[in-house]
Structure formats: C-alpha cells, structure tokens
C-alpha cells in the first residue's frame, strides 16, 4: 500500500512525475533526488527573458522568476536538493547518493534529463560557456556585456535563441555551425536558409559549414580557431552543440538499453526492469503517431505528457492494478522565440522527406509562414512562423489525427 517511489532528477520531468503519481492514486512516500540545489524551475526562459533581463538580480531572484508552483498534492514530497544519485540497483531496489547514503525504493522514476555536450578542443577554459542550468545562466550573465564579441557554437534552436537574445542585448554575435543553415535538421534547408537571411538582416553573422578547431588566448578565450584555418576574435564563447543523456548512474544494470537515453516501451516502462519508468528528455520511447521506432524528444511538452502515462504505469506495477492499454501517442510540440520570430511546431518535422511551404513568403517571415512536413506523402509535422496563435488548435489536431 505505502510503496516508496524514488524519483531521480528534480526538473520538469521529476516534478510532473511526482504530481502525476499522486493523481494516479499513489499514496506512499515519494522522494525526489535532485543534483541541483534549487527546487524545480523552468528552463526555456534561461535563453530568453532571463538572459535578456537587464538589472542585477540575485540567484534567488532569478530562481523565483522561473520556479514551478508547488501543488498541494505534492506538499509531502521529499525533495532532496543537491543530492545526486551515484548508482542504482534496480533489481535490488536500492540507490546510492553522492553523499554516501543508501536508500531503498519500491518503484523508480528515471528523470535525469540531459547535460550539454562539450567540445574537446585545445585552449583556455575560461570564457567558455554552456546554457542548461540556472548556475550556467548566472555565470554567463556575470560575464556578458553589451558591445562584446560573442561566438555561439552550434546553430540549433537553443544556440539560435541565445544568439538572438545576446544580439538584442547589444553584443556582436557570430554563430558557427558545421552542418548547414541554422536549425536545418528540423526546419529543412529552404526555411532554414530563410531564417538565416532574416537573422543576418538583423545583424547576426553566420559561419556555416565550418567548425571549431581550438581556442586561443592567455587566461581566457580570446580567439576561436576555425577548422578551415580562419579565426574569430571573441570575448566569450557559448557552446550549444547538443546534449548527452545522464544515464551513468544506471550503468550497473546490464539488462537496460542505455544506448541513447533510457529505452522504454510505449507506456514509459523501462525495458529490462520491473518497477521503473522513464520520463522527459531522457526517455526513448516509440510514438505510434509516426512509427514504432523509439526516439528521445527534447521538447518542453514531453515531460508533462510522459509523466502522466509513466505515473499510471508505475502505479499499476506497484499496486497490481490495471495499466491503461490505449496506445500512448503524445503530440510533440515546441516553440522558440528568436528576435521578432516565434516558431511553433507540432509533430516531428525532422522525420520528413518532403517539405511544403503552404503559406506565406520566405522573404517575409514576420508576416507569417506555414511549413508542412511529410514522409512518404503522409503528414508528420508542421512549423508555423508568426502565425496567429488561434490557429494552433487546428495545426495540432491535424497531427493528433495521425493516431492509429
């Protein structure tokens, strides 16, 4: 009756998992182990409002602006802050934290998300930044000043957003991207090229199809050396070159598939374990909206969607009750704010083999553009740029209709 659930990871996925366990009827104790020192907070504003903000807010001010509200149902959830999990034995139901303690659990929620990938190149460490946590943001805010030369390495969504925010702040910003126009893996080449032209017109510079070979400088980075042989003068560098799933603490459990995040079934149950589920960015799960290939999805909407299903599954595993058997087909959804553009996507555009620009003019993105993404002639996603939000419902319903 009073099974103990350990939630490892205390960000959006961990929080939603705790809330949804209560909604699913779990009455036993819940402990959330969180490597971070803060109660769960919202990451998207880190590259947007919180980076843009002038003023001299303290770490607590910044946290207060993005902290998630605590629901009544989770008032008794034990948040162990600053207590990372070093390893867990899923068959034995025990975990060890970095402070040397051992804890027992009956059910486990894996919610350890991602950390930024780092470039392995030569040169000074000082002046190199990443942006994933509040501490990263505070460090970056402490060094960035208007007028500085900033290089952002990696023109994915977070890199482009960060670059856009710093440009608005008065920095001189160059994006270095080895594999084509910004965000082209998701947007497709045609729209990506249009976004690049748009951002260039606003003053952002792009170095495309070239990578970072090393950094130069004394104590701190002063120069970015490019693979092509050229170089860029810099005051600071932000590396936004993808992420690595935080799975090391699970590695002792050889029955799990940790090859890219944690493999789960369609109900978020961890494959190779009995009473464990995975939630959020770390979970690699099949989505019948598209096919039966398990994939990780790094969108903000996914922790909330997967937490609900995972909690129902875990509650059924712990209580012997009936798990929902309807296929789980969450609709991937993300947004991004860059200068005067707002992107809103539904579905999985990156799966497409054909892209149609259904509305608007690629040379006037601010007036609104709709791109539709197809695979084998079948809809898989859409990206709206600056379209009226009232239209989102319809765009989302079109993806929902893909459900088998």
């Amino acid at each position: 009756m009073s099974a103990h659930v350990a939630v490892v990871g205390g960000s959006l996925a961990g929080l939603r998992a705790a809330e949804q366990l209560r909604s699913a009827g779990h009455e036993g104790p819940i402990t959330v182990f969180s490597e971070e020192a803060h109660l769960p907070y919202n990451r998207p504003p880190l590259s947007k409002e919180l980076l843009a903000d002038e003023g001299e807010p303290t770490a607590d001010d910044l946290h207060a602006r993005v902290a998630f509200r605590r629901r009544k149902s989770t008032e008794d959830v034990d948040f162990q802050l600053g207590v990372g999990v070093e390893q867990a034995d899923l068959a034995a139901g025990t975990l060890q934290t970095y402070d040397g303690q051992t804890h027992e659990f009956d059910g486990l929620v894996v919610a350890t998300g991602l950390r930024p990938r780092r470039l392995r190149v030569t040169g000074p460490e000082e002046g190199r930044h990443v942006l994933r946590t509040l501490e990263d943001l505070i460090r970056l805010r402490g060094q960035v000043r208007p007028g500085q030369d900033v290089v952002v390495v990696g023109a994915g969504f977070i890199g482009c957003e960060t670059a856009a925010t710093l440009l608005k702040k008065g920095c001189s910003v160059t994006l270095v991207e080895p594999t084509g126009a910004p965000m082209n893996r998701v947007l497709g080449v045609e729209l990506a090229d249009a976004v690049q032209r748009h951002h260039e017109a606003a003053g952002m510079r792009f170095v495309i199809d070239d990578g970072v070979h090393g950094y130069g400088g004394g104590d701190a980075v002063a120069e970015v050396q490019l693979a092509s042989g050229g170089s860029l003068t810099v005051d600071l560098v932000i590396e936004s070159v993808g992420s690595v799933p935080n799975v090391e603490w699970l590695e002792g459990n050889t029955s799990l598939d940790l090859s890219d995040g944690v493999l789960t079934d369609n109900s978020m149950g961890v494959v190779g374990a009995d009473r464990a589920v995975a939630v959020g960015d770390i979970a690699r799960f099949p989505n019948p909206l598209f096919d039966d290939v398990p994939r990780r999805v790094e969108h903000w909407s996914i922790p909330t969607d997967t937490a609900k299903r995972a909690a129902q599954s875990l509650q059924a595993m712990l209580s012997g009750g009936q798990a929902p058997d309807a296929p789980f087909a969450p609709i991937p959804s993300f947004w991004s704010d860059q200068l005067d553009l707002r992107f809103q996507s539904f579905g999985s555009p990156s799966l497409a083999d054909e892209i149609r620009i259904d509305e608007g003019n690629l040379d006037a993105l601010t007036d609104g553009v709709l791109a539709t993404y197809l695979r084998d002639g079948r809809l898989v996603g859409s990206v709206a740029v600056n379209l009226d939000p009232a239209r989102q419902r319809r765009l989302r319903d079109d993806i929902a209709a893909l459900a088998p």
Binding site: N42, P45, F68, R69, W335, D388, P389
Partner: protein, 62 residues
C-alpha cells in the same frame, strides 16, 4: 475554482486554449481571454492548462 493569468507574463502562446478551450480562448487579435471563475467540473483541464503554459502564467486556486 478561481483562475488568474498574470498578463505581464502571458505571451499569448495559446497552449492553455488547446488544453481547456472552455475556459481559455484566443480572440481575433491573437490575445488571450479567459473565464476567471470556471465550474469545478473543469478542474482537470484547467490544471492541465496551467501545466502546459510555457511561461507558467496561470494560477489555479480553490
């Protein structure tokens, strides 16, 4: 049940209007309009709307 949206935070993402169309609507100007005192029977969808708001602008109280 009492619902407030912090209109200084709201960026008209419209995710709330997808989760709970009975309570949240995007008007013709693309701005949010909402019912601050929805019926208790709508609690689940209103809480879902609060969860999916990207800027966490929605406060649900008893």
């Amino acid at each position: 049940m009492h619902v407030t949206v912090d209109m200084n935070l709201c960026q008209d993402h419209g995710q709330c209007a997808i989760a709970s169309p009975a309570v949240f609507q995007m008007n013709d100007d693309g701005k949010l309009e909402y019912n601050g005192n929805p019926d208790d029977s709508l609690r689940d969808e209103v809480e879902e709307a609060a969860d999916v708001c990207p800027v966490q602008a929605i406060l649900v109280e008893d």
